[in-house]
């Protein structure tokens, strides 16, 4: 509100604020959280592993990229959304929000740290999942959505990157409320918002209700069963796009347009055409969930869950992650101080993030090198000088 009628100086300040400084490792945010490392970097946010200093507990700290704390409007909106998520959403399948605030002109959100992998990483590592496992994960996601939808809250950005599987077999949905904020900010900047692969057709026209989330879950289930999203471009289509564009940015834009066209007009082949293990009743469920008309989909998450349970394919609801290695998520290290470490007999060179260490001091001996004839001469002259001085002094005294 104080933005109005600002003096030129203040405007300059504003402009300066826009050039935001990076958040660095070792930095303390909001006097409470110490940044440890960057664990994810996406279009709308960077996620850091941080330590809540007082409680000494690990938390995930998400710093939003596209909405900046530079106007009262943005602030009001962000605080409202963050408070809503923190107060309203208390569910075992939804990641808890602990805190939020502003740092260096950016909004951040502090959340429960899930020790596990994203569904994205899981699918990439495993390829298509067994039918029962895919259904189990879907049910867990739907439980979270059923709970939120009953409170009138729509997620709007369901995608594998927003779902985490913890090592103890739980499924968590991330980013309620935030997705919407960021999308609106992106739209103001005229960039294409969201992750188009998972967006329902009506979402491109800004008509969103809880059935758009149902659609996205349908796409997710399709992907878990086949390893690919229903409208993923074929190699041939990708080639065609590549030939028509000049650079990476154009390629990205063009790909999104092609995708959007397919989402609007194409009926994808059922999952069983790509994975013969998928039984017809599961095909039916998926195709119903990703119907182009919201009125033809499941009308609630609850209905969707019932349909899955009715197939009788989900026998036991526990999910086990087998031999899943938690990937090293330290994305921030692009260099640093060299450190050697011995791991079972072999030396490994590591690069320690610089922010934690500060300036490095170095000191080393002059290596061998010829003692320098120069030095010898100098020493000679010096001794000669002392001797002469001594003689002169002696002469004086005498």
């Amino acid at each position: 509100m104080e933005e109005k009628g600002s003096t030129p100086e203040q405007q300059k300040d504003q402009e300066k604020k826009k050039a935001l400084l990076p958040i660095s490792i070792g930095e303390t945010v909001g006097r409470k959280y110490r940044i440890r490392k960057k664990i994810a970097s996406g279009g709308m946010a960077d996620v850091f592993e941080a330590e809540q200093i007082t409680l000494r507990r690990k938390v995930a700290l998400k710093v939003l990229k596209d909405i900046f704390a530079d106007s009262e409007d943005a602030r009001t909106m962000f605080y409202r959304e963050a408070q809503m998520v923190a107060q309203e959403l208390d569910h075992p399948n939804i990641v808890k929000v602990y805190d939020f605030g502003e740092h260096k002109g950016r909004f951040y959100i502090v959340m429960y740290y899930v020790n596990g992998v994203t569904l994205d990483e899981y699918i990439q590592e495993r390829g298509p999942l067994p039918v029962e496992e895919a259904l189990k994960i879907t049910v867990e996601i739907l439980k979270a959505l059923d709970y939120a939808h009953r409170k009138g809250i729509v997620h709007r950005d369901i995608k594998p990157g927003n779902i985490m599987l913890s090592t103890d077999g739980r499924v968590y949905l991330l980013d309620f409320g935030i997705a919407d904020l960021v999308m609106q900010a992106q739209k103001r900047r005229r960039s294409i918002p969201g992750t188009p692969e998972y967006m329902a057709p009506e979402q491109f026209r800004d008509k969103v209700d809880h059935r758009s989330d149902i659609y996205s879950v349908g796409v997710l289930l399709y992907e878990m069963l086949t390893g690919k999203t229903p409208f993923a471009l074929s190699d041939e289509e990708k080639d065609r796009v590549k030939k028509a564009v000049r650079d990476d940015k154009e390629e990205k834009d063009q790909t999104i347009w092609v995708l959007q066209r397919k989402i609007f007009s194409e009926v994808p082949p059922p999952p069983s055409s790509k994975n013969p293990e998928v039984p017809p009743q599961v095909d039916e469920i998926v195709m119903k969930a990703i119907h182009k008309m919201p009125s033809e989909r499941f009308q609630s998450a609850y209905e969707f869950i019932q349909a899955i349970l009715d197939t009788g394919l989900v026998k036991d609801e526990t999910i086990q992650l087998e031999n899943m290695e938690i990937p090293d998520r330290n994305l921030s290290v692009r260099g640093g101080y060299v450190q050697e470490e011995e791991v079972s007999g072999t030396k490994i060179t590591q690069f320690i993030p610089i922010e934690e260490e500060g300036e490095a001091e170095f000191e080393f001996e002059e290596v061998e090198a010829n003692p320098g004839r120069w030095k010898v001469y100098l020493l000679l002259i010096f001794t000669l000088f002392i001797i002469i001085a001594g003689i002169v002094a002696l002469l004086f005294i005498l």
Binding site: A19, L21, P22, S41, R334, G335, G336, Y337, V338, E340, K347, T349, F351, I354, E355, G358, E359, A360, E361, F362, E363, F364, E366, V367, E368, A369, G372, W374, K375, L378
Partner: protein
Amino acid sequence: MKGRAFGNTHVGKVRPKNEDFFAIDPSIGLFVVADGLGGRMSGDKASYEATQTFVEVVKENYKKIKDPKVLLRKAFLEASRNTYRVSTSDEYYGAMTTFTALFLHGKRYYVVHVGDTRAYLLRYGKFFRQITEDDTQAMELVRRGALDPEDAETHPSKHVLTKALGYKETVIPKLYTGYVVDGDRFLLLSDGAYLYFSQEELKDILKKYSPKEAVDLIIELANDRGGEDNITAVVVEVLKSDAGLLDRIKALMEVI
């Protein structure tokens, strides 16, 4: 020799990921900046591989090989070979990297260089110069007398590299060397950093600030001015050298 150093890197504001890499090894006085490119987004692998190999080989042979030039050549060739291996693999096909390493040893500095990352030197707070010559088409034209040095900075071919690690198995680097004296400040930059600065400004920053302040400022300003590419800077300040009187005179002759 005694001194302090700092370095950092930033993805910038446009590129989706950081393909630069840098290393600082205060125990042996080795500093590296590499800028990965090509291979549809796997340049980051090349810059990492080259730096990692180079640092490892230097560390391994530091005590064995007395002649620093021989040591650096060996490390560079090994880095060259490994980067080429990466560049010809299916996964990282076409990945390449520029490479600039500064090595402080005895009374001298040594710079091994390929590509368009740069090393600068500020001496006695007055004399500032670029140690390395870019391996770009524009500089090639300058060498052949076809282009004025002043025009090289704006010539369209200044981004076209004539040499990089990864494009063939054995890449021959340029090697620069000179004396080190008290107060020398070295600056290593990737093109995403120096793109936004005049020589005068770099000289000023190097003169006024400590290594950490200088690096932070360069990254901040480069981002403010567009941040179109990954930004990497390493600053090394020599507090006490082993140079004798005669070395100092020679060192002065090098820069004036």
